[in-house]
Amino acid sequence: MINLRRYTLIRNVILLWMSVVLCAAFLLGIPKINILEHTARNLYFHVPMWFTMMAAVFVSAYHSFQVLRSGDIVRDIRALQAARIGAFFGVLGLLTGIVWSKFTWYVGTDVWWNFDPRQSMVSLQLLIYGAYFVLRGALDDPSKRARIAAVYNLFAATTTPFLLYVIPRQMDSLHPGAEGNPAFSEITHPIMRLVFYPAIIGFIGMFWILYTQRVRMALIKHRVTHDPEL
């Protein structure tokens, strides 16, 4: 089912790759920007979380679509685990964003959370995925669960680009990319791109490792208990 030689090879490459990215993220000099200062380095960590979540959502939706086409329980396992790891990266992205905003937007105040549209919409998206996991828990028959969960998961995947990217950009937000706030492409120095793009690849690779591990575990559990829920 899973090509173990390929998995091991890609895993080792990704782990080495991420180690280099981590070093580069701290060792390479970056231009000084007022307010941001060294927190600009969070670009290498906070932003790839969302790219990774988006990639996970694509993988999950693809497999949910395949569930509806074929009814294959293995596709259901893959859809669930991709969604789980995707939500995991989403939570990490939200938490890192809260810390970053506290020491840039909200310095000198007690504010940690001010219902910035970007953060609110992203929380909403994570709740939509939370409902996906709860919905699965409510259904006992694996093949019925696979189909119903697949339909809901396709809905959840459809809302993701809107709640993550489209709607927050239409509203007043302190987050870069919103109205009257420069986006990444115009202001980012080449030296930061040198680390940023590899960091995205590295974190998506980390997603792939974690996701594949959990799919392997779920397949074993399915073989033993005839219930793939993990």
Binding site: L22, F26, K32, L36, E37, H38, T39, R41, N42, F45, H46, M49, F88, V91, L92, L95, T96, V99, W100, F103, T104, V107, G108, T109, D110, M206, L210, Q213, R214, M217, I220, K221, V224, T225, L230
Partner: protein, 87 residues
């Protein structure tokens, strides 16, 4: 009806809802102890905090995976499936 609505309107006209306008300088307190630490060294510790959050997240995921693996292993033992993996 009229007796209740008139004082309401007077109150609306006379009391401010907020003590400062949004465009005015919002009074901020001095830096708290945590902020003094986090903002030192050009805010480098904020990056440390962010990396630690990601690291702790991965550790939690690792521990949860371990727990799931243990429960699957226990099921296998209960079912008496012979293990021939040489471990």
């Amino acid at each position: 009806m009229a007796a209740t609505s008139v004082p309401q309107e007077v109150q609306d006209a006379s009391t401010a809802y907020d003590s400062v306008w949004a465009v005015a300088n919002i009074p901020t307190q001095g830096l708290s102890g945590m902020e003094q630490v986090m903002l030192s060294h050009d805010k480098l510790y904020v990056v440390l905090a962010v990396v630690l959050i990601i690291w702790i997240g991965i550790v939690i995921l690792l521990l949860r995976n371990d727990a799931r693996l243990t429960s699957v292993e226990r099921t296998i033992e209960e079912q008496g499936i012979p293990s021939d993996d040489g471990l």
